[in-house]
Symmetry: C2
Subunit: 346 residues, 2 copies
């Protein structure tokens, strides 16, 4: 998947792109992280999922995520709510409902207590809204200039919904590819405030929990093959990961891809591809062809899935490839983004 | 416990001491964190433990900890091993053996990949040594100057050893207070390299996993009332927390307190109280009086408990108070340290 060796490793330094969810992230994981933590294993030994099944109890799943978004508050959300939603959603992508969260803070000395309080209030409200308790936490403070205000790591434990066992490795030829809502809002919203782009002031982050949407799909059972929320690296990264881990080709149709007009305009101006922009409130679902219509009906029955659409299917073709049928009928490869388009977006 | 209002809150800024495990940490937790995350509850509603029991399954416990130690490598350890030991030990203090860990990294752009690789190798080795798999992870990269090299948050899930249910609230009058090994080494070792104190070069961190020591105590069952590893805030903080949560008075004896000579010398020079210095490889155990001798024998059967000693007992007196009988026979109150003596020590 990664192709020819990237030049960046020879620099022997961590780059922003190593944290961006694209090819550099995958390379760091393959060459440094996995060999250290699980010697003898690589991505070749199994799919990389959003959450791991707990050893000895395959009903429980576990996930962790660090949040470093800047600024702390952005249109439609803040780092506190995002830290809850991101972790709840990673659990949900394994078919699980959240049981408990932990929260670890790294705070820069000098942060206003009122600002920290506002973030924590939002985090607490988001957790209550998602129906999950925060059961443990930790706070570290570092000197001024040794962190940027506040980083939050949330970890979640969830219980899988009976009958659901989606995996990035379970997509199959013939599957319908469904998207629960429009793409590109989160990344564009964060960038708009960071770069003071007044003209995109009508774009707000889509940050929201998706576990109820997943629970709604429970009646489809094993026909729900793969679920992923397209955060860092955007829809392009999620589709590429599923195509790689399931060894299938994925084709999507640009004509039905829901990109809100203000998002499209902002991306156009900034030279961003909406397929690469992070989302925090939609999911992509690979379901058996015969269940597609029912899955769409179920998703549309909830506000967070009201705009669910079918965007493509799994087709015959080289495994690991994602193809976009463009507006003019051409076909182009959708690559994993190389590195960082939008640093500190989540 | 906290006494009169501290002036620092009016400054409306986070201080280094808010992360130090002392009175400022307790105040931040009580006034800001807990009200936001669990409205209506305060510390008064229950003890603060090192790890939380998972809702719906009281055999499983969950804990999280951020590690920001500087420098990344210090005598006797590094941030990677420390991140494993700290979390394994927090599980162990609830009587649990580790089942799974997650690891979330926040990396500063520009960190040498070789340095990151060395930390991860050490983390992986420590996890294997402790017999616990790393099942999920996350990596975020922030721009140069927005973090100091590397922060690691580890979260652990553990299963309680049958019969063990220690809690900071379970200490009782008459209990013996046991300490598994000497105190003060970790904080002194980190400080020695950070401050280039060559004369303490023979002090190495005690960082090590303690879950086997706790498992060894299983035959004592419910006679193991409280366990705590005295990390941030040192032994003073751990004893104060147990005295507060169990509403008992704790008395310890300076004559038997194991402070290695080089640690004592360094603390003397630096104006530190060894009781306030962080440890990463010893635990304090409150056990029923009649089980004390057996507990010591069991602890001493393992290398990590070879130097276990009885340092005191729970006595009649004002609840929440910790008293030290000094070398000259006087008695002094051991307070929770106010704030930060040693920033970024873990």
């Amino acid at each position: 998947m990664i192709g020819c060796p990237l030049p960046h490793v020879e620099d022997d330094r961590v780059l922003l792109g190593h944290g961006a969810g694209g090819r550099l992230s995958a390379e760091l994981l393959d060459t440094l992280v996995l060999p250290a933590l699980t010697p003898g294993s690589t991505t070749a030994t199994g799919p990389l999922e959003d959450a791991a099944v707990l050893p000895g109890d395959d009903g429980l799943v576990l996930t962790t995520d660090g949040f470093v978004v800047s600024p702390l508050f952005f249109p439609g959300g803040d780092i506190g709510a995002l830290a809850v939603h991101g972790t709840v959603n990673d659990l949900a992508m394994r078919g699980a409902q959240p049981l408990a969260l932990t929260v670890a803070l790294v705070v820069e000395e000098g942060l206003r207590l009122s600002e920290l309080g506002a973030v924590l209030a939002s985090l607490g409200a988001a957790a209550r809204d998602a129906g999950v308790p925060v059961v443990a936490g930790d706070t570290k403070v570092v000197n001024r200039g040794q962190a940027d205000k506040l980083f939050i790591t949330t970890t979640g434990v969830g219980r899988r919904v009976a009958g659901l066992s989606p995996s990035a490795a379970h997509a199959r030829p013939g599957d319908a590819v469904l998207l629960s809502g429009p793409i590109g809002a989160h990344g564009t919203a964060v960038l708009s405030v960071r770069e003071n782009l007044g003209f995109v002031s009508d774009v707000v982050s889509d940050t929201r929990p998706l576990h109820r949407l997943v629970r709604e799909l429970a009646p489809l059972g094993a026909d729900v093959h793969a679920l992923r929320d397209p955060t860092r690296g955007g829809l392009a990264a999620s589709l590429n990961e599923i195509a790689r881990d399931s060894r299938v080709q994925v084709e999507i149709d640009e004509r039905v891809l829901p990109v809100p007009a203000p998002v499209a305009a902002a991306c156009d101006l900034l030279g961003l591809d909406p397929l690469h922009v992070a989302n925090e409130g939609c999911l992509v679902a690979f379901v058996g062809r015969d269940s597609a219509a029912r899955a769409l009906r179920l998703m549309r029955s909830l506000p967070e899935g009201a705009h669910a659409v079918r965007i493509g299917e799994v087709t015959e073709g080289p495994p690991g490839r994602v193809v976009l049928r463009t507006l003019v009928g051409a076909r182009r490869i959708v690559d994993l983004p190389l590195g960082e388009q939008l640093p500190r977006i989540c």
